[in-house]
């Protein structure tokens, strides 16, 4: 083998090796994410509480960070309850028996939407598509999120140990932002932390969340049934689209 051929072989092998490693890293990250979503989707009954911090930006500079506590209870196929309490919001939302309800406790107003389908997935799709209503942390509520996830690029950064627990650290990019996620390493992968960097806005504002999971919660039907408090007024819900 001539010298030139040797160099050519080495260069070719290097390229093949690098691209193989890259593909393997991407596949690994994809499977970690999808496995996590599949596991969450397989749970019939679960609850989690999250501390979420949103950046408030102005001219690319951070003005303030708003913290809120989010509590989510899920009982598939059609019961959902979300409570949000924070500086800017004190709201509960209910999904039960084909009715979506949201109530703002500070104002004592509530709105209701009758849903064409009762399941959580169909209900979340309907309120988003028809009214522009976003369920907080919906990615952790859908049962088929593994099929919905779309990204243009995904990277696996390896394992990270946080407070003695081991997590798989991945990041993926999709239209509008970059999402970093720390997923429990093991057979029961759950998203423990995530950060969204909004790349469409100057200054790249972030949303960060820290999540505590309860995969064996004690839930009763009462948790999902809305009863209007005394003096509460029902108001209309219009589309934001």
């Amino acid at each position: 083998m001539t010298f030139q051929k040797k160099i050519l072989c080495i260069a070719g092998m290097g390229l093949v090796l690098n691209s193989t490693l890259l593909i393997a890293a991407e596949q690994s990250a994809t499977s970690i994410l999808k496995h996590a979503y599949q596991y969450i989707g397989s749970l019939d009954k679960y609850a989690f509480s999250a501390v979420v911090i949103n950046d408030d930006m102005k001219d690319g500079k951070l003005l303030k960070q708003y913290k809120k506590h989010v509590s989510v209870k899920v009982d598939r196929p059609d019961d959902l309850r979300v409570d949000i309490k924070g500086e800017t919001k004190d709201r509960s939302t209910y999904l039960h028996d084909g009715i979506f309800t949201m109530i703002d406790h500070r104002f004592n107003y509530y709105g209701q939407i009758k849903l064409p389908k009762k399941s959580i997935n169909a209900a979340l799709d309907y309120i988003f598509n028809k009214y522009g209503i976003k369920a907080p942390l919906a990615a952790l509520i859908y049962s088929d999120m593994n099929k919905r996830t779309k990204f243009t690029k995904i990277t696996y950064f390896g394992k990270r140990t946080i407070k003695g627990a081991e997590y798989d650290y991945i990041a993926f990019r999709n239209k509008g932002g970059v999402i970093h996620a720390w997923i429990t390493h093991g057979e029961k992968p759950l998203v423990k932390y995530f950060t969204i960097i909004d790349t469409t806005v100057k200054g790249n504002p972030r949303t960060t969340a820290s999540i505590n999971w309860d995969t064996d919660p004690k839930l009763s039907e009462k948790d999902f049934i809305f009863t209007a408090p005394k003096g509460a007024s029902k108001i209309s819900v219009e589309s934001a689209n």
């Binding site: 030139q4 051929k5 050519l8 260069a11 290097g14 690098n18 890259l22 890293a25 501390v51 979420v52 911090i53 949103n54 950046d55 930006m57 102005k58 001219d59 951070l62 003005l63 303030k64 960070q65 800017t88 949201m102 703002d104 104002f107 107003y109 209503i133 976003k134 907080p136 942390l137 919906a138 999120m145 919905r148 995904i154 990277t155 950064f157 946080i162 407070k163 990041a171 999709n174 239209k175 509008g176 932002g177 970059v178 999402i179 932390y193 969204i196 909004d198 790349t199 469409t200 100057k202 504002p205 972030r206 949303t207 960060t208 007024s233 108001i235 209309s236 219009e238 589309s239 934001a240």
Partner: protein
Amino acid sequence: MKKQNKMLVKFAVVTMMIGFFSPSLTIQTLTPQNMNNGVTHTEKEITFTLLQRAEARRGGGARRGSARPAARRGGTRRAKPRSAARRPANKNIKRNKNISRNKNINRNKNINRNVNRNVNVNRNVNVNNRYYGGGHYHGHHHHGYYHGHPILTFTAGMAIGSIIASSSMPSSCTTVSVGGVAYRRCNNEYYQPFYEGDTLVYKRVSSPY
């Protein structure tokens, strides 16, 4: 044959050089801290010269441009009506200005167009928001839009039909119910609450009495 080999060697060398001296060779990682009170991050940048990492960073992970030193987080708050979220639409505004130089009437039409485009910009952001609740919080310095009309901060004597942000509604106003419909009364002016999507807003209405 020799010429062919030389060409192949040159090609291989150039390919390797492109890989190793790729301009985007920095990868940014985040580390969550203060887990009990939410997540803040320390960031570190690692420089790699391997093809694999360079490629991975180009599309995935986080960009160098998105890195912000911790010291920058937590500036003072200013109250202004516009937010950074609307900024991408500024390009459109400039374009429209060029088109609408001739007539004032056209200018007004263009303003409406801008508003619609702003809504579309938000939809793009919603791709993340929908599943993760991401994006940035629209603080008190602006309140967004309702069907192309800006949501305003409360002031006395607002025009009928004005849409007002609930966060700006004075606490001194009282709630009244007329015919089963709830209103907020502020100095003999009436405001009807409703949800615009998941945002609580008020519409200035004439007296229900």
